[in-house]
Structure formats: C-alpha cells, structure tokens
C-alpha cells in the first residue's frame, strides 16, 4: 500500500510539472497573437450561426490568426451576451449580435447585461422584414390585412418567434402603426414559425427574405409588404409597408461587437479586418449564397445606426 502511495506521489509531481510546461502562450506585443473567439449566442443552425460560421471561415487571412466560433446559446441570446460582456476586454472575445440582443431586450427585460456593455465594431448584414400571409388567408395586401384585423380584433393569429425577438418586434411595430390588435403565437424560432404559417395554422408571419423567398415563389405564401425605406431589389414587386400606409421600418442586422473597455487600437485592427472581409470575394460569394444581404457599416456608422434604432424604439 505504501509503495502505491509513494509511486502515486512521484507520478503526480511528474505530471504536474509536465503540465505546467504546457502553459499558455506568453503575452506578446502584437495583436492578435492568439485565435480570436467570436461568440455566437444562438443554437447552431439558425441564420445567425450560419453567418457566424461564414465569417469565421473567411476571416483568417485578413486577421492574421484563426477566428473560432464559440457557441453560447440560451436565454434568447442572453447567455452569450452576458458571457462577452463579462469577458476580458482584450479584443480576443467578440459577440455576434443582432437587434434583439443588443437593442431591444436590454431595454425591455431585466438581463445581466446592458446595451452599453458593448462597443460596435462592424455591421455585416442587414435585411428588411417581409410580412407574409398564408396561402388561404383572407387578405393579400396591407389594406386588406388591416381591415380584417380591425373587423376581427384579436382574431388574426400570426406566427411569432420569441418575445422581443425579430418577428415579435416587427409585428409590434406594425400593430402600433396600424392601430390594430392581432394575436401572436410564439413558436420559439423561425423554423416552427414558418411551418405553422405554411400549414395554415396561423395567418401571417414576418421574416427575412432568405427565409421566405422560396415559399413566395412557389406560391405557398403571399407577400404583403416589406419593412424598409425603399423596395427590396431582389424582390421588387413587394411594396414597402410605408407605401401601403403603415410606416414600419425595421430590419434585422447581424454585426460584431466587443466588450466596452477594449483598447482603441485593437478595435481599430478588428475594424480593418472586417472592412477587408466585406470586400473579400470569397466571403461575398458565400454570403450571397445564403441570401443574406451584405450591408457593411464601419464602427462609427454602425454606432450611429444603433443609436437611431434605439431612439426610434423608444418612441
């Protein structure tokens, strides 16, 4: 027994020393000298995580180091956002954010982070929302939908994703602008939401073009309007909601943010990386394939746009 203990002790010391030798890389001067982590706050498979996968796949040549995606899903994005907000502001941990996480929820819900915990670096994509109706819904235009809702208050059921999510907010804005009462059913995500409007269980839905495009072409869904300032080029036949009398301008963006005290020079370097990425042909091709709309904004413009978004929401 004693011999076992003794040999165990020798073993432990040996392995411990060996392990210490594998300590992490020393702090060096040039940034970045380690891989950069991009935190994805949603479960894999959704639009955000696919965009994240494309960004991380294409970023390395511009960054000088690999970019790894780290999935921290849960709480509608709160887990991932809190993680980045609390992480060391050394430029090695970034958040792939969207309006739900960075603009709406911190204002409306009690969360462990605040919107001001982040500093924007670059916006990558921006898509307007297309309001659609199921094939058998008793309306096909904005006017018809509003009339129907006015005649049947609370009866019009639409597919929603999560409270304070993308689709939810789109409809809240619509309902406010049009002055109608409609009933949202939260299905937890775009997938089940679309399934239900396709199956006729709900009458309406609002989603980004990449999600609804094919269904519009096949006729399974009818387009009502699009929530942007001007018509959407790939789908020019869809009127804007403003044209039709309900001024909703709301889009979903996906962008990169860093924790708030990250040093300015590192922010600068990251900003340059994403600017170069936005011009990268390979990146643009991939983004085009997923039908996301590349709408790059640099840090300043992104910040301004965020401020505008949150101001307009307060109204």
């Amino acid at each position: 027994m004693k011999t076992i203990l003794k040999s165990a002790r020798v073993l432990c010391t040996a392995t411990f020393l060996a392990g210490m030798a594998c300590a992490g890389p020393a702090m060096a001067e040039s940034f970045p000298n380690q891989p950069v982590r991009l935190v994805i706050p949603y479960p894999p498979g959704g639009a955000l995580s696919i965009t994240g996968a494309i960004i991380t796949a294409a970023a390395e040549p511009h960054l000088g180091q690999p970019m790894i995606s780290l999935i921290r899903a849960g709480g509608g994005g709160a887990v991932g956002a809190t993680f980045v907000a609390n992480s060391k502001p050394d430029g090695y941990t970034l958040l792939l954010g969207d309006p739900s996480i960075n603009v709406i929820r911190p204002v409306v819900e009690k969360l462990p982070y605040k919107a001001s915990d982040f500093v924007p670096i670059a916006r990558i994509t921006h898509s307007p929302f297309v309001f659609v109706a199921s094939r058998d819904a008793p309306f096909s235009t904005v006017k018809e939908m509003v009339d129907y809702a006015k005649k049947n208050p609370g009866k019009l059921a639409y597919s929603s994703d999560n409270v304070n999510g993308w689709t939810y907010t789109a409809f809240e804005l619509f309902k406010k602008q049009a002055g109608v009462k409609m009933r949202g059913v939260e299905f937890g995500g775009g997938g089940p939401a679309v399934t239900n409007v396709l199956g006729g269980n709900t009458m309406a839905y609002a989603g980004v073009p990449s999600v609804v495009k094919d269904h519009l072409t096949s006729g399974a869904l009818k387009a009502i309007c699009i929530s942007d300032k001007e018509r959407y080029k790939p789908l020019p036949d869809i009127p804007t909601c403003a044209e039709e009398g309900v001024d909703v301008q709301w889009g979903a963006w996906i962008g990169i943010l860093a924790p708030k005290d990250t040093p300015a020079d590192r922010l600068e370097k990251l900003g340059q990386t994403f600017a170069a990425l936005a011009k990268d042909e390979g990146f643009r091709t991939l983004i085009g394939r997923i039908n996301a709309d590349l709408a790059y904004l640099d840090a300043k413009a992104f910040e301004a746009s965020l401020k505008a978004d949150s101001d307009s929401l307060r109204r």
């Binding site: 498979g45 494309i54 796949a57 899903a73 819900e109 059921a157 679309v194 096949s218």
Partner: protein, 501 residues
C-alpha cells in the same frame, strides 16, 4: 426527373463523394462511441469546412457522421453502461445487463442489425414517400404535438420499473429541471437564482452522460460489478447472435422502426425521444415485460431501431420544407444553403441530381454500416479486456473532456458532475433514472405546445378536440390509457407496486 436520378446516382458513385460519406460514417461511429461527443457538436464544428467542398462531398460527409454517431453511441452503452449519445440511453438499460450476463456480443450484434434495419427502412420511406409524408407533417401543429407528448409521458409509467410512485417523483424532478431557464413564450425567468448560465437551461448531453456514465463509475467504487469472467479472468463477450434470435425480433423491429420514422418525420423530435418511445411501447406489447431492464434483447432491438430510424426521417421535413428537426438538421440546412441549395419546395426541381446523389449515398452508407459496425464492435470489445478500474477512470476523464469540448464551457462540466452526483443519490434510493430523463426532454415541450395551442385558439381548450388530427389522437390516447389502467387494476395484487423487495 429520371435524368436527374441517373446523374445523381452516377455522381454518388464517384471517388470523392463515396470517400467522404464512408469517412464520415467511420468518424461518426467513433465520435458517437465517445461519451460526451455527439453528432450535433461534431457536425456544427465541421460545418465551415464543407463550404469549400462540392455539395455531394461536403454534405455526404456530414450525413455519414450523423448516421454513424447515432449508431456508435450504443457501443459504450452496452459495454460500459455509458451511452455515447443521448439516443443510446435506452439501449444501455438492457444492453449493459446483457453484458453483465456475459452476453455482450449478442447485444452488440443485435444493436447493429437493428440499427441498420431501422436506418434502411426509414431511408426507403424518405426516398419513396417523403413528399406526401411531409405534407401530413405540416398539418401537425401545437395541439397535435401536445397530445403526442402527453401520450409519450405516459410511457414513463412503463419504464418506472416496479415503483410507480418513485417514477412519478423522478419525472417530476426532471420536469422541474426542464423548466429552468427562460420560458420560451413569455421570456419569464424561471428558477434562475441570479446565475446567468442558467438562463439557457440545463443542457441535456452533459446531464445524461453525468447521470449514466459518471454515476456508474462512482457506484462501482462501492460495489464492483459482478461481471462474467471466463476461466482466464478476462471478461468474455459470450455467444454470437443466432439467426432465430434475430428473427424473433422482426415484429418488434418493424414496430419500433415505424415509431422512429414517424417521430423523426415530425419537426422538432429526434432520436433521443424516439429511443424511449420505441422501448416503452415495445415493453408494453412484449410477452415478457419483466425481462426489460434485466437483459431483454427485445429492449435493445426496440431502442436501437427506433433511434436509428429517425436519422433519415428527420431529413424529410428538412428537405421538403427546409424545416430543421433538431440541431443536426439545422446545421445541415446551413450546409445546404451555403452551397447555394435551399431546402424547400423548389429543391427537387432546382437541384434534383444533388439530392438523388445524396439519397444514393445514404443507401450505400447504410450497407457500409454493417461492415463498419462489425469492425467497431470487434475493436471496442477489446476495451473490456482492460482492467475495469483503469477503464472506468479513463472513462471519467474522457467524459469530462468531452463535456468541456461541447462549447468550451465550464458550465457543461459542472452540469455533468452534478448529474453524476444526482445519479448516485437516485440509484442509492432506488429512484429510477429513465423517467427523469424522459421528463427533462418532454415536459418542457408538452408545456410549450399546450400553451401554444391555447394561444392559437385564444384560450379555448376545446381546440384539442375540434382539430381533426389532435381530436382523433386524443381519443386514441384516452382509450389506450384507460386500457392500461384497467389492466393494472385487474392484475393480481401480488404483482402490483410492492413497497420493499
């Protein structure tokens, strides 16, 4: 269409797609066999690599991994009572019992054949009747799911072993664990206690690995397992599966496979649920229900064929409507989209040849699984020759490493350790673990779908009856439930719930 079909098949038979699919299959079996690693993580991590490969190669690879992993999890489940993936949890109940009786080889072989059977059957369904089945699946909305979940929860009664009261306690605890986090419909924070990580709820994979694998290791410290050792002092794997053994399972296999295919085809439900439903129903219909839990071949066959049948089945809603059934299919959709192929109604007309190529690869990997599986069984069986003490301590380390690797998150490791502790406590107190797991999986879904149904109907509970599908399902369920209760009450008192042994 037939031009696409021919092109597709020819494409599948060329070098790179075949190599990728087979390589993925092998990798999947290995990944599945390592407790803590699952198809979901692996597929999510490897996704970016497929962006730059042609679709038949990249997606063929991912599909191979998916298939392999769901099968692979059964190997450690049987040999070590350590499910490699949540889909194999039901297999470990009877699989490990068979190993302890010195019948590991029969269990492993049956598991392989059952998996291949389930997979092949469901692949045929996918290829043959995907479109009409998908159209039916679209009609399923919240009320239908709610009734299905309710019916599945009743299965808890059948897997509670002898003690229904403790089964209910176990399920209740599981249901509460499932409630932790942000409520999906109103974003209300439940049971968070100001711990930000809990906002995302308790993750299933580390929990299962902890409750099954870790608790097994820790219990063996107190009570080393009585394993069947041959004269050489080495554990044997026992006799091979005989032809008649297999043929006896045919009816069970068809039934369990159909259950698995059906469950897989419904968006949102996957192998982790199907294995339990198939197992529970098979026990219900078995002529020897008391064997379940102590080494029933039927149980192994049911769990494995049910679980593996979901793999091709989950592709049905994914391909036809672009609707993901679980994490893996969600990632697969991403893989397709990044290739410029959008799953959905226009898929076959726009990209028919690619899809047919993938179908061909699915069938080929099915056949290949028999051989890959046999090799895997032979290699992993060597593992049980390692002295148990060393083996188990290595399992401990690998499991914790794998839990960490899911998201590079210490939180998952914490969940696993706590699962291990909970597992020991439950086993010490004779509280059955399967109801807990089933409840963690199903209770939140049941709650969600009931609330969604009420939201759809604006608060009117009659929606469950007025919708034709859910109405008929509900009637069937009530009838079946009444039948079970009647059987239970009319059984002689001695075989009913007994307080002590």
């Amino acid at each position: 269409m037939s031009a696409d079909l021919i092109t597709g098949i020819l494409e599948a038979l060329s070098l790179w797609p075949l190599a990728a699919a087979l390589g993925g299959l092998v990798m999947g079996v290995i990944v599945g066999a390592i407790p803590g690693l699952t198809a979901s993580i692996t597929v999510a991590i490897l996704l970016p690599f497929t962006f730059f490969m042609p679709p038949t190669v990249g997606i063929g690879f991912l599909l191979g991994i998916y298939k392999g992993a769901v099968y692979g999890g059964s190997i450690p489940a049987i040999l070590l009572n350590t499910p490699g993936t949540p889909a194999a949890a039901a297999t470990s109940l009877d699989g490990y019992a068979l190993t302890r009786k010195g019948q590991a080889r029969r269990a492993l072989q049956l598991s392989l054949y059952a998996s291949v059977f389930g997979d092949l059957f469901a692949t045929m369904v996918l290829i043959g009747v995907a479109a009409p089945l998908a159209a039916v699946a679209l009609k399923f909305s919240a009320p239908e799911y709610a009734v299905l979940f309710l019916a599945s929860l009743v299965l808890i009664a059948t897997v509670s072993g002898k003690d229904l009261t403790k089964g209910i306690l176990s399920a209740g605890a599981g249901a509460l664990i499932g409630c932790i986090g942000l409520d999906a419909m109103t974003s209300t924070q439940r049971f968070i206690f100001d711990v930000p990580e809990l906002l995302g709820g308790v993750p299933l994979v580390p929990l299962i690995i902890g409750m099954f694998a870790l608790s097994e290791v820790l219990i063996q410290v107190a009570r080393p397992p009585a394993l069947d050792l041959s004269a050489a002092g080495v554990q044997t794997t026992g006799p091979s599966l005989s032809r008649s053994d297999f043929m006896k399972q045919i009816k069970n296999l068809f039934r369990s496979t159909s259950i698995g295919t059906f469950i897989g085809a419904l968006p949102g439900l996957g192998a982790e649920i199907a294995c339990w439903v198939a197992y529970g129903i098979s026990r219900q219909r078995s002529k020897t229900p008391d064997e379940f839990g102590s080494g029933s071949l039927e149980g192994v066959a049911a769990a494995e064929s049910g679980a593996n049948a979901t793999v091709p089945a989950t592709l049905i809603p994914m391909l036809i409507f672009g609707i993901p059934g679980d994490v893996v299919t969600a990632v697969l959709i991403g893989a397709f989209i990044a290739q410029g192929i959008t799953p959905g109604p226009l898929l076959f007309s726009a990209h028919g040849s690619v899809i047919y190529a993938l179908f061909a690869l699915l069938v080929l990997t099915n056949v290949a699984l028999i051989f890959v599986g046999k090799v895997a069984i032979r290699s992993f069986s060597l593992v049980i020759r390692i002295p148990n003490a060393l083996l188990m301590s290595c399992i401990l380390v690998v499991s914790l490493a794998a839990a960490y690797s899911i998201n590079s998150d210490p939180y998952d490791v914490v969940v696993m350790v706590m699962g291990g502790i909970a597992g020991i406590l439950m086993r010490g107190a004779s509280i059955p673990i399967p109801p807990f797991i089933i409840a963690v999986l199903l209770a939140p879904q049941l709650e969600l779908t009931v609330r969604q149904s009420l939201a759809l109907s604006d608060g009117d509970p009659s929606i469950f009856l007025t919708r034709p599908i859910s109405g008929s399902l509900l009637v069937l369920f009530v009838a079946f439930f009444t039948y079970i209760i009647w059987k239970f009450l009319s059984a002689p008192k001695a075989s009913r719930v007994v307080s002590n042994d």
